[in-house]
Symmetry: D2
């Protein structure tokens, strides 16, 4: 996950990057960082949400810079320690980098860099990405830090670094502050470029552009390098395009509904998921009296679903706006109560009704199991569950933290890739039984493609990984995740 | 505003009070406090949200207590400094007190107490309330700290202390830890009493009971004193009941939708407001293509409104879940952008539509003005505004912070109390003009009473104050608010 | 130990109290507090040294007050938690109190107060002292908070509260801010009153007066109550004088050398101890080549000792000015090294010399044992140890933290009180053997009295306790100390 | 100033470096840092004293490293911000560096590095030193990070980097953790190398070795590079020795008295300064009744001075052990009092005496002026001032922060270098008059050389700068100091 914001050419670049990061806070709440690469270079990183990690006094240090990069981090790889926060700096040759995504050959890259005396200071995969780029830049002869050297370096890098990633880099190139953006050859992770007069902005989602009145200008292609400078037109270099397969899960869950992705509205997409699911729900012959979204993500799709079926839509769960991750709970009994602290039901909405619970996806299944249990006590006559995405049965290696296969709810019922629509309907019966509810309906992969057309990575649903993942990569990633899990056993997903 | 939680008779009273406070966090985010009155007395108060103000190490100090009071504070009177946080302790005679509400004769009470050598350490009105109670307890002869002395003391107090308040007090009475709850003679501020086996709980809203599996037991009457002890039935003393007029604004805006108030569901109430307003909207001959709530409070009413009129309901604004109060913004231009950081519109929902914006209330009007301006840029063909409460034209003296008359939006158009439904319709035209929108429709006071029947305080709408407010009280309160405003000029309402 | 500073009648009372507390920082480094009792009452307490415990922002809150009390705390009784920091407030009736000393009948007092509903919030003995005073003030009839009531209350209190204590109290009396100071009937703990124009100051040592240009005015008598108000002459009431026996250990170790105590210079006193000890050292037929003080306290006496004997004086140990209490030490070997981090010897000063180490006193003996061991490795030909006080063989119950008898070094060699000079000389031989040094010479009690004449409490040396200590008091104190020791096992004395 | 500690080959390297830094705390209190370069590289820096800047939790992160560098910083160049704290890391090629001293051609170096894309992140001159080294290492062909490359790089560096500096560097060389130490060609700043079994330690002063039981092994020569590895003998390379002129001011003031410098005891040196000054004092025909040191530095010399003249030595000033740098003082009057808070006189020592005040040096003269004024009020019959070093009349460019010429006390009276002993005696009369005292006697430069023989840098006294300082260097340094002074106007020297 993670999110980045970069601005070049604005007199208030730092304050605006700070605002942009707040618009992307949903992409990562563990740490945040900011860096400048204009007159001077400076990096600051802190733990916590944006206002905590980058406080007013810190932000003031950056106020004279017109070229700033910021990042919010959700720890896919790395431990959530301050040292794993982004951006990173390689000095020499003076390159700042932040990225969104996940590399799948970190060990291999780190090994190569050790020979070149680039030291890893963290467990964050932004470091091998930066180290690879920095080494190539330093190796350029004559050593002059030219645009051409960067093009050569990134071209090589795209052939060596595997995984899904969009990186923003700040440096002085040809003597000018330069913002460089590049995407992996499959364009797995999102990116948008905006313009406001002479200033340019790159961000993980368009929602960071909106409050700053940057207009969406274009979406970089897979394997493309974009060079942005104040007052100049973007220079675009398509270096290693292997065909665009953007992550579909961004549209289902991760991106904000008000975002546009490659020109399409996520909100409208979710409405389409809801309508298509409504058709599949009806095809199964199912009915209900009320549609109740599990907040917040599923609202637009649930609304469209209800409207399409002509069933009332009710906000039967109230989500506590103030509940954060950390609970102080003395024992298991109290911990069990914590769900109601986060999500309190309104009994009258459920009572004596055939209830259709509606959610965006099921990953580990712990929360939906607890919610189902809670709803059973509310005197609903039937409980149906509708999910506006297909079953998550395969791990993501490109930047979405979905745990290992062993932990995935759907993987317990569907062993070998996506079984087709009919196979799905069969599996749903077993799943509903496990959850002790009357029915469960996922959106089929067919329905997904009908609702949001075009090429996409849906590996978590269909097990087809568009960017190469070698066997050794899988092993290394699995080992990493076990370590990270050990470090974070106290955290529970709700 | 403010909220309290008190538990007696649970082995995990402190941890549960902490969870209860988190369920009531919406009632106050400036400070929080906790106190025990079992084997030993201890008070802790801190600034910020509950997890910050009362951290795990602090909470651990209270872990052996079975009798605990907690409080979250929104600074109605007082400065937001730590010294103004609740609960307070008077020692001797050993009484802990927290309350929700606002006293209207603070100066008079403070004057009386000075003669008795009770020193005010803060600007919080909980202190004169506590000082009055403590003085009366200390004056009892023989001095023995008996239940009877408390009854006498509270009875006198209810005749002397003016305003709206519900207080929870912890003390040793007849040698036992005792939780005492009392309400002002008009029952203006909410309170509910819950039971779980031998344990008792008192809270500002029922939503604090739910996650802790306390069952709602009863709602204390106006002017009633309730005495709660572990394993004993409640003792109830109706000491000074002047007729119940509970605050209607709790139902419109302040309480959580999943709360019950005096046995009625706030959620259902809001749905009723929405339906009644739909009728009034139609009566005016108005029409629209889409109903768009301004999140979060107005959702249930907007949903009912849309359904009642058969118009599509769309979540056209996305609220940033992570935006807090504090923004770091370098200049006015950036500050203007901050609204979109908190509330970003989805253009496609508005474009070429006759839009009905829907909100719960208008207080100062600054936010709705800015939202209207933003919507005008989204290519809607018409903008209509529907508000599911009547115009706020009079200040609240009983605990809701609504600023002075001068700052109230509606007061600029409606000078002398509520003008009746016809007068309201006339005023709405002027207001719509001021906001540069096509129409504005409030719920009439008549409609309000139709939707949520029974006696109530609606002074902010109709100017009729059920609990006496003397002229000198008004002057003192106004002076106080000016001082508080001076202290808080940097904060802006969105 | 502990120290207090109080000022009434200065426009900068708080800033000056803060400076005074810094001058008394040697009397307590665990916590500090400040309180005002002029227009308003306010108390602030914090952990750590004065600048940390009372920072600039906090101090600014007190800036308009002309009547302020401050305190630095060394935890004799109590746990070193913030709740044990002084000053304390009883409200009602509005009395602030801080004290220096130790009560010996805390349990008895606490029991009495529980009947009066005064709740102990801490383990600090200032609370029962304050509670006793507050209860008596509240019981006065008519209740009018008059000077006469205070006189009566303190007179009763002096008969009930046992131990050594000097207390400063702030309150409104006869409608005026009033600073009251009272001492226990034996005057065990120090106190001095200073004047500067219309302003008055009370402090534990005169060194707090010096930087603020207050002139020493008088020393209150044992059992005396002094009432100080801005612009008025002190009112003095001798209520319960049982004969002055001030603590001699203040002069030996605890007070700063630049202090005056009851008109006599501590520095000159220490010089006298050194000269008298020189005579006793010679009488034993001992000789040496160099006198080396163990810094810092023993310097003046060591200088006088060397000069008197005509032996060179050398600063052979360099004390690290920056070493605080807390060391981060991974294992025992490293911990052993910590002594040299605090106290590093200069080898050339010791080499081939008959060395006379010089210190003020030996309490538990752990440090001197380690120093002796260190010196043995420095190639001195002989090691003699001279101590400018008699052996500490009995615990102090009046406010000096000297641990239990079991832990006292001297008590292992001298069981029943002071054995007379001859007995002392005999015991010294055993002690020197235990320390593996050539000789040990204490100042005899006879020498002590010769050097600093007049009545005194020297109970730690001679076992004669001037203020009554009942058997039950001893038991309660011993229990307390065990508890405190449990809480503090990680701290080591150097 | 500043101080460093580095250890390689100890299983507790980090904890021991931490202890070593505490022994060197007197060399810098503004910030501290620690870095490891064993299995992994990690740097931590913090503001404040060692225990604050590097707390226990931070230290624990380094616990598995056997190769650690630490630093305490006094801000000669740079602003006292965290970014200026040392050590620094260049990555690639993975070099950690800390140093003690001052470079005089920072601008020139920074300019050269900009061409190589090494970015300065701070105002600290450790960065250009590190950048120069890193650039040279990266330029080695073949790139293999070999010992030979380091030798070449340091040899070149010593010819390019001007000023006084001792640097410690950590890196992986020939595949092994390697600690490298090098000194400027004149050996201006101190350094000592210690051994404990297989482990090696480098430190600014020997006092850091003592508590860790490292034995002094050797002192690196000017322009020497020393390579230290666990279990190997040191490799020493004399690369650029221009003749040793170590800083004499270290012996006078800066070093701890228990330190050895190049095999000689600082303590004995200070005694010699005192005796020589005694002779010069007598030659002038001056007499006195008592010698009173101004603590702490001048004690050993004052003691020798008094003994040599047969005059009593008295500790007439008591220094507050707890006064730090920061005072909270409301106005000028209070600020004036602050001196007595730091340094309180004992009146009886001064009264009716011909007093000889004794100090180590006079820099700006503000403190001695205030002390003289204070002593005049103490009824001394005469005031003589003896200073155990010559007049400081020239700025230091090699690492001692002595302000600009304009601020130096002596420079107001002695314009062109050192005027010889006779000239000095004449100038002293004017100085004494300015201070309103009876006489002032400095140690002459001749006396200085007699007391501590051998070559030395005494540029601050005689204006002869042994290491080249170009005109442009002087200008750049002066500009820097003005900037730093602007940043620090609020701090006053006592």
């Amino acid at each position: 996950m993670c999110g980045f914001v970069a601005i070049i050419g604005s007199p208030q670049a730092a304050a605006e990057v700070h605002m942009g990061l707040r618009a992307l806070q949903h992409r990562g709440q563990d740490s945040a960082g900011i860096a400048e690469f204009d007159q001077r270079f400076r990096v600051h990183r802190g733990l916590g949400m944006v206002p905590t990690a980058i406080d007013a006094a810190t932000l003031a240090l950056f106020e004279s810079s017109r070229a700033v990069i910021g990042h919010v981090r959700y720890p896919t790889r790395g431990s959530g320690h301050i040292e794993d926060a982004q951006p990173f700096l390689a000095n020499p040759p003076g390159i700042i980098l932040a990225h969104n995504g996940n590399l799948t050959n970190v060990e291999e890259l780190a090994q190569k860099l050790a020979d070149k005396s680039f030291r890893m200071l963290s467990y964050c995969d932004a470091e091998p990405l930066l180290g690879t780029l920095a080494s190539k830049m330093l190796a350029a002869r004559p050593f002059a830090h030219r645009t051409q050297d960067l093009i050569t370096a990134v071209k090589e890098l795209l052939g060596e670094v595997r995984g899904g990633y969009t990186a923003v880099c700040g440096m002085q190139l040809d003597g000018k502050p330069t913002l460089a953006v590049f995407r992996d050859p499959k364009g797995l992770r999102p990116c948008t470029i905006g313009r406001r007069g002479n200033a340019w902005m790159a961000a993980s989602e368009s929602v960071a552009l909106d409050p700053l009145t940057f207009e969406e200008h274009f979406t970089p292609k897979p394997g493309e390098l974009v060079i942005l400078r104040e007052g100049e037109e973007p220079q675009r270099f398509e270096l290693h395009n292997l065909g665009h397969t953007p992550c579909i899960f961004e549209k289902i869950y991760f991106a904000r509904p008000d975002a546009n992705m490659a020109g399409r509205s996520v909100y409208e997409g979710r409405m389409a998921f809801g309508r298509t699911l409504a058709d599949e729900f009806s095809e199964k012959g199912l009915e209900g009296d009320v549609v109740i979204p599990i907040p917040d993500t599923s609202r637009p799709a649930a609304q469209a679903f209800a409207e399409h079926l002509g069933i009332p839509y009710r906000e039967g769960f109230i989500k506590n706006r103030y509940s954060g991750r950390t609970f102080i709970m003395p024992d298991a009994a109290t911990r069990a109560r914590a769900l109601r602290l986060k999500l309190n039901p309104i009994r009258s909405v459920f009572k004596d009704k055939r209830v259709i619970l509606f959610d965006d996806s099921i990953v580990r299944g712990a929360t939906i199991a607890r919610i189902s249990e809670m709803v059973r006590d509310l005197d609903a006559t039937e409980i149906h569950l509708a999910i506006h995405s297909p079953p998550v049965a395969n791990p993501c290696f490109y930047g979405i933290d979905m745990s290992t296969v062993a932990e995935l709810f759907a993987a317990r019922f569907m062993h070998q890739g996506y079984p087709g629509k009919a196979g799905l309907r069969a599996a749903e019966k077993e799943m509903a039984k496990a959850l002790k509810i009357d029915s469960l309906t996922y959106l089929s992969v067919e329905g997904l493609d009908q609702a949001w057309g075009g090429p996409r990575c849906a590996a978590c649903f269909d097990g087809k990984y568009p960017a190469e993942i070698r066997a050794e990569d899988r092993l290394a990633i699995a080992a990493d995740r076990r370590k990270a899990a050990d470090r974070n056993t106290s955290e529970t997903q709700f």
